[in-house]
């Protein structure tokens, strides 16, 4: 209803605007036409200008303007995805480049009928293309006009090689040729004008006006008696005017298309800007959080360091202190080495020098007696012991045989992955017994760390789980990212992480394998 009222108000307004615009166009064209006719009438031109030369020049100018208009039509068609300008351009180009020069400059020198018939047939095809351009069949797409232009050339060539016939002689002698040309042009011009009125489009009406001027310029030739070169320059001058009007209409369309595209581009930029601002904010928040976490961890590590082991301490307490330190160290590493994000291309606004400089270099760390050179290998049993000690009340059974070989991976890896697996047990199988076991794997050269719970097993009763990013059991919460990163870490050190459903009793078994150190 609202839209009905709106269109009821806007409809007349639009009509008035169209009418005003079209009347202005018409006035301008009429005034220009009068000026052109006045300036190029025989009385003015005769004796001052060589009309033959001037006609040739004006014809070429009209041809050039027509070609320019054709190219603009083509570009506009490509920009907007609308096939109509492309059809229009094909017809214009055929007319401007082939028909105009032929009919104005070549025909007068060949009085025969066959060349006239050839030009006439080509003209008719190009007029057909123009009319089709009003509503081109979707089936033919944007290139149909060009195909028809090719057909026109072919037809013209075929006709040109025919012998003279009574029909062609009639073309030479009588006014038939002029009548057909004028009628054709007039029809096309009127059709365009009507189309413009029907759609109330100023541009289309202006196109019609331009074509009408071209049609009038043809009419002039027939009603003024006498040989063509002696009629002054009215005929070729009007043609230039007509083509110029067509060009101005097409330019307006092209400008409008470019403006629309630019608006779309600008809006896209704004949306992108909003997205990047959000991303920036998230990055800033993450940096801020990391900063706070680093401070917190440094403080906790410092405080834990103070809880020195004294002789006579309960060995359980000593182990606990070490477990706390190791845990803090694991957290510290997580902040230090976020999983490397692959950087593609070089963005001048993103500088990766910061991370490279700020990273605590291994050389400095070695010198400062932090992480020993044995960083790359560790005793799985000891690592598991500290982890299990940390979860004293959880009821975890630890089973590590003595004499297990060291594995070729940093201790932080085992700690990280097993911590993740234990957290998973807490989520999916809370308060059930958990067994952590280390053993030599069935495959030689590998040590297996197993974490087994007595929960429901893998979701959906799967036997085995391939770990993909983001996989998780929605009912239990948590994101599968932890598992995914764990698997990636293991693979990076030549290991694997596999989850299985096991029975008797039912539960989930996670197996982390790591290669034995040489």
């Amino acid at each position: 209803m609202a839209s009905g009222v709106l269109s009821g108000v806007l409809g007349p307004q639009r009509r008035v605007r169209f009418l005003a615009g079209h009347l202005t166009d018409m006035l301008v064209v009429v005034v220009l036409g009068a000026l052109v006719v006045a300036a190029s009438r025989p009385a003015v031109v005769a004796g001052r200008i060589d009309t033959a030369d001037a006609t040739a020049v004006l014809t070429l100018v009209a041809a050039a303007i027509g070609s320019a208009a054709a190219i603009i039509a083509l570009v506009t068609g490509r920009l907007t995805g609308d096939p109509r300008p492309s059809w229009f351009g094909a017809a214009l180009l055929l007319y401007g480049v082939v028909l105009l020069p032929l009919s104005a400059l070549v025909l007068p020198q060949y009085p025969g009928g066959t060349p006239r018939l050839a030009v006439l047939s080509m003209l008719l095809v190009s007029l057909c293309i123009l009319v089709t351009a009003l509503r081109p069949p979707a089936r033919l797409g944007a290139w149909g006009g060009w195909a028809l232009a090719g057909v026109a050339l072919l037809v013209g060539a075929l006709v040109a090689v025919q012998a003279e016939s009574p029909f062609t002689r009639m073309l030479t002698a009588g006014p038939l040729y002029s009548i057909i040309v004028q009628a054709g042009w007039a029809l096309v011009a009127v059709l365009f004008l009507l189309d413009g009125y029907r759609r109330q489009s100023r541009i289309r009406s202006r196109l019609g006006l331009g074509l009408l001027v071209v049609a009038v310029s043809q009419l002039y030739r027939a009603i003024v008696p006498g040989q063509e070169p002696t009629i002054g320059l009215v005929y070729p001058s009007l043609r230039v005017l007509g083509m110029a009007v067509v060009l101005s209409a097409l330019l307006t369309v092209a400008l409008r298309a470019v403006t629309t595209l630019q608006d779309e581009y600008d809006q896209l930029q704004e949306t992108l800007g909003e997205a990047s601002a959000l991303l920036d904010r998230a990055t800033d928040q993450a940096a801020e959080r990391d900063h706070e976490l680093r401070n917190g961890l440094a403080g906790l590590a410092g405080a834990a360091q103070l809880l020195l082991a004294r002789p006579g301490d309960d060995p359980q307490v000593v182990r606990m202190r070490e477990a706390v330190l190791a845990e803090l160290d694991r957290l510290r590493r997580m902040l230090q080495n976020p999983l490397a994000v692959p950087v593609t291309g070089t963005d001048p606004l993103v500088d990766d020098r910061d991370a490279a400089l700020l990273d605590w270099s291994p050389a400095a760390a070695d010198g400062a007696a932090g992480d020993g050179p044995a960083e790359a290998e560790h005793d799985v049993g000891a690592a598991l012991r500290t982890l299990v000690d940390l979860r004293d009340g959880r009821g975890i059974t630890l089973d590590t045989p003595a004499g297990l070989p060291r594995v070729a991976a940093p201790e932080s890896l085992t700690r990280q992955v097993v911590t993740n697996l234990l957290a998973n047990c807490d989520r999916h199988a809370p308060r059930t017994p958990v067994v952590v076991r280390a053993r030599l794997a069935d495959e030689p050269g590998l040590v297996a760390v197993e974490v087994r719970d007595h929960g429901p097993g893998l979701p959906g009763g799967q036997a085995e789980l391939t770990i993909a990013r983001g996989r998780h059991d929605e009912s239990a919460g948590g994101s599968g990212l932890g598992l995914h990163i764990s698997a990636q870490l293991a693979e990076r050190h030549g290991g694997t992480l596999v989850l299985r459903t096991v029975d008797r009793p039912r539960g989930c078994l996670a197996v982390l394998t790591l290669p034995v150190a040489r």
């Binding site: 800007g273 680093r294 410092g302 360091q305 103070l306 400062a368």
Partner: protein, 223 residues
């Protein structure tokens, strides 16, 4: 620079747990280490002038003072060095440019806060003895990065200075997350006018898109 072994070690950090843990650990190793909680930049300088110079462990991000202004550790480095202190730059920040600025102002060595705690302690001990644990050349890299950034910032400000008052206002609104349409509404002009102004800004800043222009502005304004 002075700072023979035996001279005091002062720890300046806005995180009490970090500061006191460092001080206590160093004291357990027999050093004369004190933790100085931060109230304001002036208070820190006043404190260090009253006691004999030694080694100072300075966090670059010192939180906010009573009036809510950020206390910037970088600005303290110069005055501290002038007062005869040897400055160990401690930072958990991910901006290496700031570390470079602190080293450029005379900082002796940089230790990241996320280093293992024993490494942190040993770096401070080494600095106390006059040795830097930074690998050779690293200090120069930090300073170069800082100077490059300063240079970029100057260039950027020169470019921004070329903008007219209105263009700067438009850019500021865009950087604040406004769309061109609401900028046009704000100034009661047409959208086309704002678009023209935006294009002028792009030309003057020598960037290809609004996105880059806004990013540059944010960088310059430190948003």
């Amino acid at each position: 620079m002075t700072g023979p072994t035996g001279s005091p070690i002062l720890i300046v950090d806005d995180h009490e747990l970090v500061g006191s843990a460092l001080a206590l650990n160093l004291r357990a190793e027999g050093e004369d280490a004190t933790f100085l909680p931060v109230r304001s930049a002036a208070a820190v300088l006043e404190h260090v002038r009253r006691i004999p110079a030694g080694l100072i462990v300075l966090d670059l991000d010192l939180g906010r003072d009573g009036e809510g202004n950020r206390i910037d550790g970088v600005r303290l480095v110069g005055p501290l060095c002038e007062a005869g202190w040897r400055v160990v730059v401690l930072s958990g920040s991910s901006d290496a440019g700031r570390v470079g600025a602190a080293l450029d102002a005379g900082g002796f060595v940089f230790v990241p806060k996320n280093a293992p705690f024993p490494a942190l302690l040993s770096a401070i001990r080494e600095a106390h003895a006059g040795r830097s644990i930074m690998p050779p050349g690293r200090r120069e890299q930090f300073i170069k990065l800082h100077r490059d950034r300063e240079h970029e910032r100057r260039d950027l400000h020169e470019k921004l200075a070329k903008l007219t008052q209105r263009e700067r206002e438009v850019l500021a609104l865009l950087a604040g997350g406004k769309r061109a349409q609401s900028v046009a509404d704000h100034f009661v002009v047409s959208l086309a006018t704002v678009r023209t102004q935006i294009r002028a800004v792009l030309t003057k800043l020598e960037v290809g898109s609004q996105l880059e222009a806004v990013a540059l502005y944010r960088k310059a304004a430190g948003i």
